[in-house]
Subunit: 898 residues, 2 copies
């Protein structure tokens, strides 16, 4: 049996790896090999595979058999290729040892440079470079790095030793130390080793193996673990280790080092070569901020100078571009830039070093970019024939699109703002306004033309008007799917929810965050994309939906097969959503139609009524206004379908729970306050989520269902071409649907007879949101034209989480890895998804053409959208501002699972 | 193709049906045919099948082709057998037309007697019987019955006509009317027909078809529908119609009619032939209560006389037994009695008529009986070699057993008592006591030796002590699975729950039911088996668990394969349950271990603690008392296993919600009341059912889990042979279990090291009560030694019903047939059962020997127990007093599904 290959060599014309081997060699290793094959100037080296890292942990931190032998073979190969010898003079081979996983984790794992220096190779290096100071500095740096990274000696002890020498010699900066000083430092470093009972190894091979071990060990250091958790990086074997011949950008004025992007990572524009470099410096100096980095191109340099008010003569003298300072190297680099983009067919992030006038490439990888840049680059590259349309669609992360759909803060303004508190990023965007503490005040302020932020402990359906009037919403309680969050996302309005850091006092109209107390009228700003609450007014910029954004959306529509509808309750929302590409309404909640203005009075009369006759009388008042609402919606949709959910929330949401409110209601109804109080008490439920709501209301009060049916159907007759789909909520047993459907059909029959004509289009279906409804979907399908999965409630009941309460432990659950994601944000495919799968399968078994959709919050979350595609749904429905995200995710799913 | 057979003839030696054809011929028809075949004296006739009834409705109330022809053929056959002619003299054939479904529905459907009388056959009947009065009385009765039943004329109009003749003639009773008077009545009846525009049909065949139609029509009359709903009679095609030659018990002193049971239906004793008869009477007279019925046997007659203080001479003269009055008929009947019991191998309920000295059998069927009688008869019949042991086990309805396990009211005392209100029969039995309105008062009264009924709007875990101290519990709110109901059933304590008829005022310490206001100290009595609340003290009798009851239980244990455990939280409950046959504890809730006495102080300290150290300090106080609790339970179980569920309820159940309580707690804790109020507020949840409870607590506060684990494990070491099974509640994702299990195992490791020995038996499992847990059971099983299905919560989440709130609409749901039963009482096999099935299948796929049990309230409900057997569970667990029910149901399942 052939021995497993653990080490892959890379070097001019002799690379064993290639770009396709990222999983095995890590991103860095694969691309280094690839660049060699491309004929680019890469210092040769070799990569120890990620499989070794995996084995290292599986073997309880031991190396697999054969690894050291393969490393030795590669060192010999490297010696041959470079003509240098490892650990010995006169031409010593020095190497860097770097981590490199399949997914980039910058700065998270360990690196050792200058490895191979010892008492023998140091003089050789001096001899060779004629630069004694450089050699000694490299040596003492290596000692420190090795001690710190490999032997876990105290970083602090090295710093202390260095400082003591500097103090003794009156040196301010490290660079002030002369050769003698650096020698002293090296001597002091040796003492640090000795004090810890360790020895600095003179043997280069011993150095190397120890460094490799250290890199593998750093794969699971707390910093790396945290980074992977935060960035949701999963499923990797481990890190690879890249051992590469050292090149030096700090050997003199003919040396340099830099990083660059092949296009502007912020805007995506392909204007010029975007990057920075420093002469006579090491890689880390560019980003360390001690020296001002210079621009790669002269055009870039001039722009930089302008922005920073640096006169041209000073710029040219002190901050010349690479183009100006090292024109030949620049030309070579610029050619490489073109070659790399053509080869990788994506914007690249590259690192290079120039050693004594010779350019070396140390890294290339796909560059990180903003959403705007991602869209622009993808669209441009299609135009440039670099990538296909499908590739362009796959290039943009749907989640990122959110950035493009809402106002954002000006970068500098936000950076300068005072963070008051941090809540949940419940609905993205940026908003600023004066604080108000009630929906009513928000509406009044809006009428006065003032921008306000509505600050509430939590919101309820009664607050809708105020939420609409406010520029942004801040709540002290509630999670990502609390009322405030859901409604705000629906409105496309910035919202920070569940901000436990602020104490809200309605009575005194104050909001306290730490020591800062804000009053009504004070300005705050909200970043709904990261949850930050800022003091004062922070400047914002508006989104751009044209240009590349439109192009990428058109491509998405070309390739997706999953429909995308919107959750919208008003003509305005419907219009916005249609503009954003919605193909109809997937969920029109009718609750608000019982709240606004005078309607709540009628609704309350109905609730108070002693009998059916009394209820009908009250409902008669609601019929014409609801009909008008539906007419508005049908008109806004211009022939697109609208799924209208009948009354869902428990009745106690429609009555006031405070004494003052009850007294007011008593006056309005002409009854004693006690009557109201008794009624409210009788409506109290321990678990309203599992209480008397949804179709259970319609079954108890068929007249409500009949009224809503009449309003929808009459509106549909009034607007030719409208496509009503009545949706009965909370069905758990088929007979609930049968019962409600009969009421709707009876009303339809009556109206049909009056009108003397059928509706062209009319469907009745149900929401599958109770687990039992999913489990008995074969039966439910007998009565339904369509199912719409209400994955919010399905998650609540399926997982047993109240979305109003679970916030306080769900975050911990995700931290502990009990759930990979908050199941209210990302559909829990294993559990709740299983119910969706079961229901889809059972439902289609009964009725093969059953239309299936999803209208929970998940309808706008990319991975959930992809799940919906896979499981065979017909459409997803999401809040208007998530429609583009869903369109893109759907297209990606269609391409990925074709 | 042969024509479908719609009509089955029965008569001496010529019956087409038999006892196995109950579904087709109805119970009455099948048994009439069967009795003919047995050679018993049955007036011949024929049965129109239940299929015809079904077709009649399917054909929109029309007869299927061929029916009238088949009826005609059978009439001719009947004429031939009896030598009479239908509708004509001189020997006219009169028939009865009676309903008869496969399941007995006494009095619910229509009957027509004396059919065939008309102007021609009346004189013939007079001629034939020489009894003009009898004939005219039969005629006018037939006219009335036919008009009422078949033509839907007003019953009232006939009564009025009869009364007017009686008034005119000064007759007090119907029997006071002479022949002339009866003729006048017949004439008046004709006018009633005419006034309604109807005619009394002279044609006997026309009469017959109309009567058959009427019987079919009565299958779906409101009375019959209601009866079937109440008695849960489902799945029948319809009623059969029995047309049978009339015999008359009212033709003179040599005629009689009676009903009898072959054994005592009340006690089951086989002492003598138990029944009543009347001389010269029609069947309905025996039960009508106008005349005092006489006993069949002389022994029975003497006992009756004694009980009713009738002297022997008067008894013999006025109330002779059949044995005395018609000794030959009695002998014949007694032989038939023996024959029927031997043939049907069950106690029979028979009807007979003696016409002019000749005995006719009109009906036999299995007799209804009390639970005590059912048990006694089954056991006796095994001893008599009439039935097998398995049959005996199947003969007793497990639900009925409840009657035998609790005190009951004395029949007469209950009949005489004033019903104050009616609630839900939440926990069976009878109880009487003085009203108290708080748990504390109940405990005080119990200490004083007073019997009290605890009356609460609803109960909470804090009331446990008072519930235990009270004789019975009455609540104004909550359903069959409310806290009060569940706890009371667990205690075997009488409870009437959700009694909305009473208004409870804690402040004034009054309870109002309609106009009656009761104060603290007033006596009430509760019937937990039917939900009645009585004014005053109603006398009770105690249950008997020995004798036949013990025998039938032993038989059940012999045949069942499903284990039966109990839900018990205390050593006392465990002992009671073991006495009732429990094979261990399937659910030991540990909540109360945090409540009693000083414990709640420690628990509250834990809740208030700011950090883990503070919580641990408080928990250290709880450890020794919980350990003692578990030692007590293990001792009581004497080596039987105990599944112990770790802390489940949300923390807010442990803190006071009223101001006074909070102030008291503040004092006890040495903090400001505001601190308590803030803490309580912070613990508030909108849907506590779906909130921070179950293992979610243990994951947040691992120290609670660790403390409980230590208490259980140390107790297990302290009681050799104990079998602890730790159950982690509310697991929805396997990692929750992994997390909690690790804590338990760590504690076990620690203790094991201290003790230097392993526990002989130690298991860790989980409750499957979250739908997601069921859906991902394959994964959960990887970490679990056992699953216990918590079907209460599985029903709450699976169906989306809060058991605290659903009462108000679930009843309506059952009435509307949306659910067949209240899913909290009877496991919803289609929905929730599907989750159980999925979880059992997935769990066993991962771990074939996974132990599966159920510990919801359904574990003691017979049909649910049978489902558990079918689905392959290892055991059910139920409250102690339901253990015998579960044992019997399990045995029946094993026999039925063998």
């Amino acid at each position: 049996m052939a021995e497993q290959k653990f080490v892959y060599y890379f070097g001019a014309g002799d690379s064993e790896g290639d770009a396709s081997m990222k999983q095995l060699l890590g991103g860095k290793g694969a691309n280094l090999a690839d660049m060699c094959t491309l004929g680019l100037p890469v210092p040769p080296g070799f990569t120890i595979t990620t499989e070794v890292c995996d084995l290292y942990y599986k073997l309880d931190r031991k190396y697999p058999n054969g690894l050291t032998e393969q490393i030795e073979q590669n060192i010999q190969k490297l010696e041959k290729a470079t003509g240098k010898t490892f650990g010995h003079g006169p031409n010593p081979l020095l190497v860097s040892v770097r981590s490199g996983a399949a997914v980039s984790m910058p700065g998270m794992m360990d690196t050792v440079l200058n490895l191979g220096l010892n008492d023998e190779t140091l003089p050789a290096l001096i001899q060779l470079t004629g630069n004694e100071r450089f050699a000694w500095d490299s040596y003492r740096r290596f000692m420190q790095m090795f001690g710190d990274v490999v032997l876990s000696l105290e970083h602090h002890d090295f710093e202390h030793a260095l400082q003591s020498v500097k103090d003794r010699r009156g040196a301010k900066l490290d660079t002030d130390l002369c050769v003698e000083g650096l020698k002293e430092v090296a001597a002091e470093y040796k003492k640090v080793y000795e004090a810890a009972g360790k020895q600095f190894p003179q043997d280069a091979r011993e150095q190397l193996l120890a460094a490799v071990t250290a890199v593998f060990g750093s794969w699971n250091n707390p910093r790396a673990l945290k980074y992977r958790a935060l960035n949701e990086i999963r499923g990797l074997l481990g890190t690879a280790v890249n051992v590469q011949t050292m090149v030096f950008g700090n050997m003199g004025e003919d040396c340099a080092t830099g990083v660059a992007f092949t296009r502007d990572p912020s805007t995506g524009e392909n204007r010029y070569f975007y990057g920075e470099y420093l002469i006579n410096a090491q890689g880390e100096d560019v980003v360390a901020g001690i020296r001002t980095p210079q621009q790669i191109t002269t055009a870039g340099s001039r722009e930089w100078a302008e922005n920073n008010s640096v006169p041209e003569d000073r710029r040219k003298a002190d901050f010349p571009s690479l183009e100006e300072a090292m024109p030949e190297c620049f030309q070579q680099l610029d050619q490489i830039r073109a070659k790399l983009e053509k080869h990788y067919r994506d914007m690249q992030d590259i690192e290079f070093t120039i050693e004594q006038g010779t350019l070396y490439m140390l890294q290339t990888r796909n560059g990180k970019r903003t959403a705007a840049a991602a869209v622009k680059i993808a669209v441009d590259m299609v135009a440039e024939n670099l990538i296909t349309e499908k590739e362009a669609v796959l290039r943009v992360d749907p989640k990122q699109l959110d950035q493009l759909l809402h106002p954002t803060f000006k970068k500098e303004a936000e950076a300068a703002a005072v963070v008051l508190a941090k809540g949940l990023p419940a609905s993205p965007g940026a908003a600023k306004g004066q604080i108000v503490f009630s929906a009513h005040d928000a509406e009044t302020a809006a009428l006065e033309g003032r921008d306000v932020i509505l600050v509430r402990i939590e919101t309820s359906p009664e607050d809708i008007g105020g939420m609409d009037a406010a520029k942004g919403i801040l709540t002290g309680r509630g999670g990502m799917t609390s009322h405030a969050a859901v409604v705000a996302r629906g409105m496309g309005k910035c919202c920070v929810a569940g901000c436990g850091d602020v104490v809200i006092n309605y009575k005194e109209k104050t909001m306290r965050a730490g020591d800062i107390v804000l009053k009504e009228g004070d300005w705050i700003s909200l970043n709904g994309s990261n949850g930050n609450v800022y003091k004062g007014s922070v400047d914002t910029v508006n989104p751009q939906l044209t240009g590349p954004f439109g192009t990428i959306m058109a491509l998405a529509d070309k390739y997706r097969t999953l429909g995308v509808r919107t959750n919208a309750d008003t003509p305005h929302d419907a219009e916005v959503a249609v503009q954003l590409g919605a193909e109809g309404i997937g969920l029109c909640r009718t609750e608000h139609m019982f709240f606004e203005g005078e309607r709540i009075v009628a609704m309350r009369k109905m609730i108070l009524a002693a009998d059916e006759a009394g209820r009908k009388k009250a409902l008669d008042l609601l019929l014409p206004v609801q009909r008008e609402d539906f007419i508005g919606i049908f008109k806004a949709l211009k022939g697109l379908p609208a799924t209208i959910r009948f009354l869902d929330p428990p009745l106690h949401e429609f009555v006031p729970h405070d004494e003052a409110g009850q007294e007011e209601m008593a006056k309005a109804m002409g009854v004693c306050a006690q009557v109201i109080k008794d009624k409210v008490d009788s409506l109290h439920e321990f678990n309203p989520m599992l209480g008397h709501r949804g179709c259970r209301l319609g079954i108890f009060y068929p007249e409500i269902t009949a009224m809503q049916a009449r309003a929808v159907i009459e509106a549909a007759y009034a607007v030719p071409g409208s496509k009503p789909e009545i949706m009965i909520p909370l069905v758990g047993a088929v007979k609930e649907l049968t019962h409600q459907k009969q009421i709707v059909l009876d009303v339809y029959d009556e109206i049909r007879k009056e009108k003397g004509a059928d509706l062209e289009y009319f469907k009745i279906g149900t929401m599958i949101e109770v687990p039992r409804g999913a489990l008995t979907a074969d039966k439910v399908a007998e009565e339904a034209d369509f199912f719409s999965f209400g994955t919010n409630d399905l998650t609540q009941m399926g997982c047993g989480f109240s979305r109003d309460d679970a916030g306080k432990f769900l975050q911990r659950y995700v931290e502990l890895g009990i759930y990979e994601y908050d199941p209210f944000q990302v559909l829990d495919q294993e559990g709740v998804g299983e119910l969706v799968r079961i229901a889809a399968e059972k439902g289609r078994k009964t009725k093969p053409d059953l239309k299936l959709g999803i209208c929970g919050e998940h309808g706008g979350e990319p991975s959930s959208v992809k799940f919906c595609h896979k499981v065979g749904l017909n459409y997803v429905s999401c809040s208007p501002y998530r429609v583009p995200i869903a369109r893109l995710a759907a297209a990606q799913a269609a391409i990925q699972y074709a």
